[in-house]
Symmetry: C2
Subunit: 257 residues, 2 copies
């Protein structure tokens, strides 16, 4: 049986935290045909609110050290402010959006990251995505908007990387839909030359990826992003695209296959 298509878009905080780029995103996302999901970040707003409350934001390897106070901040910003404003914006464009965290309907269960060299605090590593209720809702044309929070099933909310949430959710939906997972970021795609924004690599497979890493063409934060992408492909996701938020709905960016 042919599976129906579903597009899962992950956008970073920067896009959803500025009025102009958020509005553009809401327009482009609304215009996407078929079933869809949006996963968003919100780190800049969290850092801003934390600063206003006199809470210092500590980042290690791009991850926020999440003590109890910081957990409240991200719960308010990701689960409340950013999520509900996106949902209200989509509703105004007749998209039947539903704001969710992984806590809701037990959609994403995680485990608190074990303390090794670094104690990340209330940070979760995804353990399981429960897709059934999500699938039902999607079939009713509900459009989930997922904030990067999960829970441990023992009452603790856990701050969780939005890229990981996007990847794990895409994998969990792959048995039900033909899933395209799109990671939006600042550049137009994976670049062959980091100083040339137009040097987008149009397609890449794992073998090519490894060669690029060995040559030092692909480095830094792009490596875990692509590792996530290949893991998704290897778990049944049909297509992963890395592109700019302004390219949503256009056939642009780097396709991971």
């Amino acid at each position: 049986m042919m599976k129906e298509k579903l597009t899962l878009i992950k956008v970073g905080g920067k896009i959803v935290e500025e009025a102009d780029s958020l509005n553009q995103l809401l327009n482009d996302f609304s215009d996407l045909p078929g079933y869809k999901i949006l996963v968003h970040g919100g780190g800049r707003s969290a850092t801003k609110l934390a600063a206003q409350l006199g809470i210092e934001s500590k980042m290690v390897n791009g991850r926020r050290i999440t003590d109890a106070e910081t957990l409240n901040v991200v719960t308010m910003v990701y689960g409340g402010l950013v999520n509900k404003n996106i949902v209200a914006g989509l509703q105004a464009k007749k998209v039947n959006a539903l704001g969710l965290t992984g806590v809701d309907m037990d959609i994403i269960r995680s485990v608190k990251r074990p303390v090794k060299e670094i104690d990340y605090g209330f940070v979760g590593d995804v353990e399981k995505v429960n897709a059934e209720l999500l699938v039902d809702l999607i079939h009713k044309n509900v459009v989930p908007v997922l904030a990067p929070l999960t829970h441990d099933g023992k009452g603790n909310i856990l701050n969780t990387n939005a890229d990981t949430i996007a990847g794990e959710t895409a994998k969990a939906l792959a048995p039900y839909f033909e899933v395209t997972l799109t990671y939006c970021f600042e550049k137009k795609g994976v670049l062959e030359d980091e100083n040339d924004d137009e040097s987008v690599i149009p397609e890449i497979n794992r073998k090519e990826f490894q060669a690029y890493v060995e040559q030092g063409v692909i480095q830094g934060g792009m490596i875990p992003k692509l590792e996530n992408a290949f893991a998704a492909i290897e778990s049944g996701v049909s297509k992963v695209v890395i592109t700019a938020a302004s390219s949503i709905g256009k056939d642009q960016g780097t396709v991971i296959y």
Copy 2:
């Protein structure tokens, strides 16, 4: 056809904002048999966060004047902090809770309160509750946890009275379920003597209510609460109970019929 029972509990901010009373509530609510919904407030936390951010909280007739900054505060506190902590707590007790605002799935559409003597700002008066998707989820044993926020369909989130949300949601669910609507507050019920906490009026109909109001026995904030309750009964809600949060699941308080 016999309709199945559904219990809708409305709790004020005080109950959900203190660890002990919240824990008691989560236990009592989890133990309730059958279909259920929780509607919560969060005003004290909103006032506290606003103060920390240097935003003055202005109340008129018990309603919060909601300017743009205050709207962000209540969106964070009601939709994020309070809502998601309740949901995580219920999930830990194996209740499949789903945190919602009226914005999500267009559940509660409202209109911005017209400016007369007072400009309440981003405050909504409920216009319509869309129950269909909620009913589907409830039948799948999902337990909605509703924060007091709605939207106008034009992209604006609106701060909305939680008692009204509870009443309007109960009415919208009445065609599908035999609904008991329980308003929890500080007292054990409607009191015949405000200085005697044990003087609970066990049952009250509209005629008796009017007589009590004329005698001055029922006054102040209890009058709109009871008006809401009678409106719910007259719109098909089976039973309305006014009681203490500590009496959830017990056959106590004042029954409006």
